[in-house]
Symmetry: C2
Subunit: 405 residues, 2 copies
């Protein structure tokens, strides 16, 4: 009998967790496991705002996939998935075609620009290592250029962050820590720098405890952030953005740096492959399989799971993706061993901590509200835990955050 | 009797040396000394190629003027000179007017683009700290952006240096040391990077010993530099340069980074003020005064002195500027004391060392040819000596180069 072949697309939190759990659960003779990823490294998506602001080097944010997989059990292929041919049970990649018996789609998220004109062309998104280091260099470059021009351009020192959700707020925390350093580095007057956060919703960090949100806003304002809440970005242009508060108050803000952090969607490969999806996210079965496709699992940001308590989807997070990876691995092991009963996935939300820079944060963990140094410590423990779950203690030692107050 | 007022324009090698020597020679009651400079710091023009390539931080390349002047004797004004009104004995600055009895013009050099189309708009020049850190960031930014674009643009990794003179060669040495680091930093394939040196003259480093020039060319070629000698830049465009070898062989080279290092001229303030000059350089009297202006000295890159041995002007160097500063200070002291006999300036060329990167160089010093580590050591000693002459041992300790092989 031919060994079944399991192909995992993507080495983000969900895909990599599936791979490292599967290599423990399944024997060499039970299945061939193939992990396909665009890069030869995994990156911590939840740390990218730090690399983007330049407060953490991007090499601290990624590690070699080969360092955490057991290469006797998992074959790693560096290639970019383009489309899944569901009927033919194969994946088309940039350089090849890969057949599978079982597929795990863990392709992560893409920025969602909601059709806002010019955003794709003129705004940055904190989406991967390449983007993060480009944003960092772009910020540095504008500081470096400011003093070289006879006519001083204030837009070089104006930074717009679109979105006051999790990523937007965390990026603002890092950026406002970095700016005083940049001012010193490039002889720029701190008072000339503007950091503006534009959010279409009427609130910052929707879903978060209001008391903690107030703390976060006050802390960021103290560090110089101007919040424009209930204000929509209408258009991004070559030299800035057009915003509108209500119908009439249209305003043009000149800014060389616009970072769009107001939303993500699932991978476009989901739709291109014919899966039924909403914004690239497939409402998966309780066992994480795609409806109607018994051999295809979908985990991470491309999956959609409803939080029954509030009848709304869970936001895509690393925490959920990793938990899905664990269940997905167990379900795959069951399937190849011919078992019909698969495990149901239920998210176990241990807490949520939102960083406000290296030394500050807000959060709820184990049912307790916290802010400041304590929350910041907790955030670092959350970050270290993600490393631990995938790579064990050696990865924590190598890549962990120990700059604890 | 009113104390005479001596105004020194520029705190480069020539102007700053004049100021620090003058403050030792002249008593507080003998003269008012005013030093005017655009920035509150002096920078080592001869080290800017390192800051531009990113191999030395720009803060290592500059120091606070107030750290080396005696503020009881020299008043420092941070302002930008615009024009000298010779007849009215005053200097127009951006924010003020400054009257003088004696003037020292030490305003340094500007890039000379020989009217080549587009160079001013599309090429960088290694002219000051602002420009150097912008070049560094521009290079970094192109590396950072290369991997973010789906269609890979080779021009992001193509670097053109215009000119194979001193600055061009020294910059190439640093740049080729920096590139392997950048390739690692941004996951860029080293083989994709091109570094091209375009020189209109038929040779590299004209005036240098041919054996040493051959060594330099071989070393730089080993580090990846393509030399296009006897090739003129005809035009710089938004996306590169147009070069021509002879009349017909016109070629377009796509490059996002073009650094023009093929020549300097004196300050345009020289001509704007009505001094008789060639490319901003005044052929000064033997005592360093401007012809026909008994109270105006010109030192450094705005002065022109003929090397009688070869009947050609000395190239403007830090070495000559500092020697001029010393003579200028003594002649000013003599003048305010009513002496008519001024000292004649004769350059004393102790040697010339051209760096090929942190660990390599070629040079002639004390009549001896040298290359490699020995010449590199000598280069660092030359750099340290400039610090010593202006700021004494404490400045050498603070800013000196001790990364000696």
């Amino acid at each position: 009998m031919k060994k079944p072949k399991i192909v995992i697309l993507g080495a983000g939190y969900g895909g990599l967790m599936t791979a490292v759990r599967l290599q423990k659960l399944v024997g060499v003779n039970e299945a061939d496991i193939v992990l396909v990823n665009k890069n030869d490294y995994h990156y911590e998506t939840t740390w990218l705002h730090e690399a983007s602001a330049g407060t953490l080097h991007h090499d601290r944010v990624r590690y070699d996939i080969r360092d955490v997989i057991d290469r006797n059990k998992v074959e790693f292929i560096q290639d970019t998935a383009i489309e899944v041919k569901i009927e033919e049970k194969k994946v088309i990649t940039e350089n090849n075609e890969i057949n599978y018996d079982y597929l795990v789609v863990a392709l992560g998220a893409e920025p969602e620009t909601f059709g806002i004109k010019g955003l794709k062309e003129h705004a940055f998104s904190i989406v991967n290592v390449n983007a993060a280091r480009q944003i960092r260099e772009h910020i540095d470059y504008n500081f470096a250029t400011y003093n070289t021009e006879e006519e001083k351009k204030e837009e070089r020192l104006t930074f717009v962050v679109g979105g006051a959700g999790f990523t937007g707020i965390e990026f603002l925390g890092e950026l406002t820590n970095r700016i005083p350093e940049l001012c010193r580095e490039y002889d720029v007057d701190y008072k000339k720098v503007r950091v503006i956060c534009v959010e279409a919703a009427p609130m910052v960090l929707p879903g978060f405890d209001p008391e903690l949100v107030n703390y976060a806003v006050a802390q960021l304002e103290k560090k110089g952030v101007e919040f424009m809440i209930g204000t929509a970005i209408k258009e991004a242009t070559e030299d800035g953005i057009v915003v509108a508060k209500g119908e009439d108050e249209v305003q043009h803000i000149k800014a060389n740096t616009v970072v769009w952090a107001a939303g993500v969607r699932g991978s476009s490969i989901i739709e291109n492959s014919g899966f039924e999806a909403m914004r690239g996210r497939v409402k998966v079965e309780p066992d994480l399989r795609a409806p109607g496709h018994d051999n295809v699992f979908i985990v991470g940001d491309c999956s959609l799971i409803i939080n029954e308590e509030i009848n709304r989807p869970y936001p895509p997070t690393a925490q959920i993706a990793m938990q899905q990876g664990e269940v997905c691995a167990r379900n795959l092991a069951a399937l190849i061993r011919g078992k019909a009963d698969l495990e149901t996935f239920t998210p176990d939300i241990k807490g949520t901590v939102c960083s406000l820079g290296e030394d500050d944060a807000i959060g709820v963990a184990f049912g307790k509200k916290m802010y400041g140094g304590k929350a910041s410590f907790m955030k670092k423990m959350v970050d270290n835990r993600a490393l631990y779950m995938i790579g064990g203690p050696s990865l924590v030692l190598k890549k962990g955050k120990f700059n604890i107050l």
